[in-house]
Symmetry: C2
Subunit: 324 residues, 2 copies
């Protein structure tokens, strides 16, 4: 029997992870006894769980809150909570408070329990830890050169996770998620929003704006693949990781043109025609500094599974969000 | 006219830097108006300065202290203060408090002054940010994989320095110092102590213990070269650094056998005979995880100058410490 805590349980990935745990009833090969969801707004525990669920609203970056969260000694902790890139850039203090101090308070809360308590901590990092200039495909030994405060905070968290694991305070594993595509929900103003928008809006019969040229290449994973990464990380033997506790997850490197071709195959040319090109120099500039491709050799060897194709990424959206 | 602050001014490198500033009277091409030395114990300002000097004792990791230190808006800040590797490993909380929180308090103290204040901050990092396994010669784009809490804290500081510089709060440059050789003073129990001891003790007519085999290779710089790196960093145009603010300094990669050959050339075989081999498996194990060689291409291109040879490193010790 295992006790699971999700910090950041109200976010898109957190909700999908919780749904999957409720559906499976097990994680890392063990039956789930209890699932706790925490977020700044009260998360909704998915219905129909065969185990106890509870939802907690609170700010884990307030000293003492993390201690309360881990007081029950959860066996597996998924730490998904973060201030997103744009907000961490706009509000310097808030970004560091949540993304750095919050994570450190959590690590210290675990450490202070002691007495042999050593939970598995699965931490979501990001490809934002990398910044240009970089090679066409970034290997597992390329240095972390973030160009945003968000990426800096995630890179620092990776270092802390490794040191706390090395010291035996916890059993940490970090996973650098690709850009999640197709994100469900409404269009948003994030610079990366169009990667999902050009698929999602046409599938919903709406026009989508493409602000960059079709040869732009990026690194994608479906929400379902991301949940798969989290679950695989929760059950992985961490011994082969050694001191290098964070892994770049396997995504799919595709161009916008390849995304659109896949949309045509899956949903037809009527969908493709809903994409309207409207070049935006600002977005083009931001996107040009992003990583395009990776060689995530370690993660592949350790059994992390990418989406099979961008066609599959689109079908996952249809199945999971449109009920087809 | 320029106002200089050295944090960690009582340490070996801090003292030598202060002496050099007093001797030169200038730094980064400008006349020095004032030099402030700070450390946990009261530093001694070198005599004979043509400018105002002051010494401050205090713990810069206590909130408020860093604010006081930078209140006079020094133009150049050398941040050399740190808990050393062994102590940071033995006292987890103290290491993080000084090496991470202290540095961050300093960066934030600078940031909070605002109003266009943007000092040059020269930060001493360490090759301890790298950990095995690594290639025979570590290039400028190899990832940071520290295997100690000290190395972790230095790597985090490098990330903070880059982000605070990118945001325009200060003009930071980090330099990863090689192991300093020949360290003056008495033998100590640091695992790296023998690299200096096998030279220093024989030059002082005393026996030295060699705990590892002669094929052990390591990365060295003299104290004089280290001071040269600091001064060059203080005056460097940081624009070519881009977002990558920390540089591996050029050292000399030599084996213990090459060190001993140099000792023989500089001081004769009588000195060499004072080295006694006494294998120590613990030290051998620790040292085997250390970096042996680097390709510090960026630093060389930016004009940082290594020692010319290990013979020169020995002669620098004789000149600066033995008055020859």
């Amino acid at each position: 029997m295992t006790d699971v805590l999700i910090i950041g349980g109200a976010g898109m990935i957190g909700r999908k992870l919780a749904e999957r745990l409720v559906k499976d009833g097990t994680v890392a090969g063990r039956k789930i006894a209890r699932l706790t969801l925490q977020d700044i707004v009260e998360p909704t525990a998915p219905p129909g769980a065969a185990f106890a669920t509870r939802a907690i609203a609170g700010d884990f970056s307030v000293p003492g809150v993390a201690d309360t969260l881990v007081a029950g000694k959860p066996d597996i902790i998924f730490h998904l909570a973060a201030i997103v890139s744009g907000e961490a850039e706009a509000d310097f203090d808030k970004g560091y408070r949540i993304n750095l101090d919050g994570t450190r308070l959590l690590l210290d809360a675990i450490r202070k329990i002691g007495g042999g308590y050593k939970p598995r901590l699965v931490f979501t990092s990001s490809i934002a830890v990398f910044g240009a200039p970089f090679p066409d495909a970034i290997g597992d030994e390329f240095h972390l050169t973030p160009l945003t405060s968000y990426g800096t905070q995630k890179a620092i968290d990776e270092l802390l996770l490794a040191d706390y694991s090395r010291r035996g305070f916890l059993d940490g594993i970090g996973i650098r998620l690709p850009t999640i595509c197709v994100r469900p929900g409404k269009p948003n103003k994030a610079a990366s929003g169009f990667f999902s928008g050009i698929i999602r809006e046409p599938l919903n019969g709406q026009e989508a704006i493409l602000p960059v040229s079709r040869d732009v290449r990026h690194w994608h994973a479906s929400p379902r693949a991301a949940v798969g990464f989290l679950l695989h990380a929760a059950g992985l033997d961490t011994a082969p990781l050694g001191a290098r506790r964070t892994l770049t997850m396997p995504g799919l490197s595709v161009t916008v043109a390849e995304q659109i071709e896949a949309l045509g195959r899956v949903a037809g040319q009527a969908a493709v025609k809903l994409i309207r090109e409207e070049p935006d120099e600002t977005i083009r500039g931001i996107v040009s500094g992003w990583a395009r491709n990776f060689e995530p050799q370690r993660a592949l060897e350790l059994g992390f599974k990418p989406d099979a194709s961008f066609d599959e990424i689109i079908r996952i959206y249809q199945e999971d969000e449109l009920g087809r």
